[in-house]
Symmetry: C2
Subunit: 320 residues, 2 copies
C-alpha cells in the first residue's frame, strides 16, 4: 500500500519539478541544478508534505510548489555535502562538482536554494500562512547547517555524548522531514496543535530513521546493503552505537581505520553486538518511531494519516 | 552630506546585525558567519533599502530586518565567491575558507543565506507584501547565481559580446542593489510604479557603477587604487573596455598574462586609451547612472529621494 502511494506521489512530484524548474538561460546552470533531481529518488519529503496537507484538510495541488521546494532544498544540501565530502558518486551518478567543477557546483546548490524560496513564495494559501511556512523552511535550513557543522566538529572529537549526537541527527536529517510535514499543514490551514503534531512526528521518526540507518550499516550483509558492511566503522563515524559502546568502556580498535580488513570489521561488529550497543540503538530507533507515531493521535483519522503511520513503519522495515 | 548619511545608516545597520544575528550554538559557526559582516563596510545595499523605504513613505525601523537580510545575502555571496576564487584576503581579513576550511565556509555561507530568509519573514508589513519581498529577494539570488555562472563561463571564451557582458554585470552585481531598493519600497506600501522605478534605478546605476569600476582599475594610479593598476588586464577579465577594444580589432597581447611587467601593462592601457575604449566605457557608465537617476522622477520629492540621487553620483565619483 504505502509503496504504491510513494510511487504515485513521486510521479506527481517528478512532473512538478519539471514544471517549476524548467531549463532556462544559462542552460548549463539549470542542467546542473536538475542533475541529481532528475535521477529520481523516493521523494519522501515532498510526499510527507503532501500527506500532511491531506491529513489536515488540504489539497495536493495547492501544496505542490512547496513539495517541489523541499525536494530542491534537500538536493541543494546533497550537492554541497558532496563537495565537502569530496564524494564522486551519488544515486549512481557522478556528483555535480565532479561533472561541472567545484565553483559551478557551489553555484548550482545556491541557485537551487534560491529557486526553492521563489517557488515557496508562489504557494496558494493565505499570505500570512505563506510567510509562516517560508520562515519555517528557512529556520529548517539553518538547522541543517548547524547539524552539518556539528557533524564536522564531531569528526575530530572523541568525547561526543549521546545528547549531542541526537541533537546533531535531529538537525542534520530530521528537521527537513519535520519541516516538510509542518509546511504541508500550515499551508492547508491546520491549527497550531495539528501543525505541531506533524512537526513532532517528523522529528521523532526522522531521528529514529537515522539511528536505524546506523544499525543497518552494521547488521546488513554486503550483498543486500550494496556496500561494505560496517563502512561507518572504517569511516570512524561517531554513531549512537559507537557512542554507547565507548560509554560502556568498550574499545573499537579499527574505528576510523579506512583500510581495515573484513575480519577486523567483523570482529568489531561482534564486539559491538556483545556489548549490547547494537540492541540499544535498535531499541532507541524503534522507540523514537513509536513515539513519533503517537504524536499523530491529535489528528482526526483519515487515509492520509494512516499512510503517514505506515510510512513511519516502512522506513524502519525497508532493508531486509 | 551623503557620506555623513552613509556613516549614520551604517551604524544603525551594524547594530541591527548584532541584534538579528547573535552568536548562538554552535558558536563557532555563528562566529564564522559574522566574520566578514563584523569587518564593516559601507552597507550600501541596506542603506539603499532604507532610503527607498523612506522615499516611499515607510519607516526605517520597519525595514531594518530586511536591510540586515540583504547585507547577509551580500556577505553570503562574498564567502562563496572567495571559495570559488581561492581568495585569501577580503576587507583586510583572512577569508572564511582560509580560516575555517572550505567545508565550513560553504556551510557558513549557506547558513547566512537561510538566516536572511528567516529574518525577512519577520518583516513588519502586510503579509502579502512580505511574501512579495521574499519572492523578489529569492529571484534576485537566483539572478546572482546566473550572473556568477556566466562570469565563470566567460573566462574560457574569447567571443563575449557587449550585451552578454551587460547581462552578466546586471545579474552578478546590479540585481541585489535593485532588489534591496525594491524590497524597501514593497515593504513600505509603495505602488507598483514607484517600486518599479526604484528597481530600474538600482539596475541602471548598479550596471553603471560596475562599468565605472572597470574603468577605475585602468586609470587609477597604484598608490590610490591600493593594488596594481590594470590588474584586470593581467587577470584576463573581459570587461566592457576589453570587449569594445576587441570589437574594434585592437589586440591586447598581455591580456591574461599574470606575470606581465608594469611597462607591458602600461602599454596595454595606452593602447586601450588610444582605441577610445576607455572613453567609451566611461561614457556608458555615466549614461547608465544618469538614466537610472531619471527613473526616480516618478517619486515625489523627499530628502530620501535626494539622498538616493546623491548616492548615485557619489558612487561614480568616489575614487579620485
Amino acid at each position: 500500500m504505502i509503496e504504491e502511494v510513494l510511487r504515485k506521489k513521486a510521479k506527481v512530484v517528478d512532473e512538478a519539478i519539471a514544471k517549476y524548474l524548467p531549463v532556462s538561460h544559462p542552460d548549463e546552470m539549470y542542467i546542473s541544478m536538475r542533475h541529481l533531481l532528475d535521477a529520481g529518488g523516493k521523494r519522501l519529503r515532498p510526499t510527507a508534505l503532501i500527506l500532511a496537507a491531506e491529513a489536515t484538510g488540504g489539497k495536493m495541488e495547492n501544496v505542490l510548489p512547496a513539495a517541489v521546494a523541499v525536494e530542491m532544498v534537500h538536493n541543494f544540501t546533497l550537492i554541497h555535502d558532496d563537495i565537502m565530502d569530496q564524494a564522486e558518486l551519488r544515486r549512481g551518478l557522478v556528483t555535480v562538482h565532479k561533472k561541472w567543477g567545484m565553483p559551478s557546483a557551489i553555484i548550482a546548490g545556491d541557485a537551487l536554494y534560491s529557486k526553492a524560496f521563489e517557488i515557496l513564495a508562489e504557494s496558494k494559501s493565505e499570505p500570512a500562512r505563506v510567510v509562516e511556512s517560508i520562515g519555517l523552511v528557512a529556520k529548517t535550513c539553518t538547522g541543517i547547517c548547524e547539524g552539518q557543522w556539528m557533524d564536522i566538529d564531531f569528526e575530530t572529537r572523541d568525547d561526543v555524548v549521546e545528547d549531542e549526537y541526537l541533537e546533531m541527527v535531529e538537525k542534520k536529517t530530521a528537521v527537513l522531514f519535520a519541516g516538510a510535514l509542518k509546511t504541508g499543514a500550515i499551508l492547508s490551514g491546520a491549527g497550531k496543535k495539528e501543525a505541531q503534531a506533524l512537526w513532532d512526528f517528523g522529528i521523532l521518526t526522522g531521528v529514529g530513521f537515522q539511528i536505524y540507518d546506523d544499525v543497518i550499516d552494521l547488521i546488513t550483509p554486503e550483498e543486500i546493503l550494496g556496500k561494505a558492511q560496517g563502512g561507518d566503522i572504517m569511516e570512524g563515524k561517531r554513531t549512537l552505537i559507537i557512542i554507547n559502546a565507548i560509554s560502556k568502556g568498550v574499545t573499537i580498535d579499527v574505528l576510523g581505520k579506512s583500510n581495515a580488513t573484513k575480519a577486523e570489521v567483523s570482529e568489531a561488529i561482534s564486539t559491538l553486538k556483545k556489548s549490547g550497543s547494537i540492541d540499544y540503538a535498535m531499541d532507541k530507533a524503534v522507540g523514537f518511531v513509536e513515539k513519533g507515531k503517537s504524536a499523530l493521535s491529535v489528528l482526526p483519522d483519515s487515509e492520509a494519516k494512516s499512510l503517514l503511520l505506515e510510512l513511519a513503519d516502512y522506513m524502519i522495515e525497508r532493508k531486509y
